[in-house]
């Protein structure tokens, strides 16, 4: 575990989380959530949990992003909140 690397990834994760929450455009929020998942995957891989990283990359960043996009199609793209 390299603490500089950790610090960089954790900072980016927090930025991505705040960005995904405050974004008005739901498609952008879904994509930023995918970036968040990839950063989480990087963090798991860096901590030595390769299997968890693999699951995060395939489920969190791959399938759940496309499911979010499919769900956004059923609603409006803009969020009121």
């Amino acid at each position: 575990m390299i603490w500089q690397f950790d610090l960089l990834i954790l900072t980016l994760i927090v930025i991505c989380a705040i960005g995904a929450l405050s974004m008005k455009d739901l498609l952008s929020a879904a994509i930023i959530f995918g970036i968040y998942s990839f950063l989480m995957c990087l963090l798991w891989a860096e901590m030595g949990a390769v299997d968890v990283a693999f699951t995060e990359a395939s489920v969190g960043a791959g399938v759940s992003t496309i499911l979010f996009i499919g769900a956004i199609l059923g609603t409006s793209r803009r969020s009121k909140d």
């Binding site: 498609l27 390769v50 299997d51 990283a53 693999f54 699951t55 395939s58 489920v59 791959g62 399938v63 496309i66 499911l67 996009i69 499919g70 769900a71 199609l73 059923g74 793209r77």
Partner: protein, 159 residues
């Protein structure tokens, strides 16, 4: 893809050709990698869940690039439901067979009472059977989730 483009107000006819060609080239490799991840789970990171998600994602990619009809040609709806059931049945059935062979539920080593190879080899085979079952279920469930969410349950057009 057409509905996605209309929804997000993109009308570029060339976009579709590039996306469809690259998806057509990419999908066999994605499927091969998914099968590799399931089968090679004993030796490298991966296993039934991850490999199943990757396999399902390859069919989802076909559904995104073309439409749901193309993805349902590759993986018919009836097969999808049957495979989700089959995977769970394989998992539970492996456990029940182990119990019938005189061990505990999911105790693969007990199968050496019937066929006399060493328990370690039976455990390896049992893990493989279980991972294959998980892979079947996850593949079909992920694909059916995508179908239902992207077409609101009508299974036409889609994305």
């Amino acid at each position: 893809m057409k509905r996605l483009q209309e929804h997000f107000e993109v009308h570029d006819p060339n976009l579709n050709l590039i996306i469809q060609t690259s998806i057509r080239i990419l999908v066999p490799f994605v499927q091969l990698f998914g099968l590799y991840v399931i089968v090679h789970g004993h030796y490298s990171p991966g296993g039934g869940f991850q490999g199943g998600v990757i396999l399902g994602a390859s069919f989802i990619l076909m559904g995104v690039g073309y439409d749901l009809k193309k993805s349902m040609e590759l993986f018919p709806e009836a097969w999808n439901i049957a495979m989700a059931n089959l995977g769970t049945t394989i998992f539970v059935g492996t456990g029940l067979v182990c119990a019938a062979a005189g061990g505990l539920f999911l105790d693969y080593g007990a199968l050496s009472n019937w066929i006399g190879i060493e328990p370690a080899a039976w455990r390896s085979l049992g893990i493989f059977a279980v991972e294959a079952g998980v892979g079947f279920t996850v593949t079909s469930v992920m694909l059916s989730l995508f179908w239902d969410l992207s077409s609101r349950g009508e299974l036409d057009g889609g994305l």
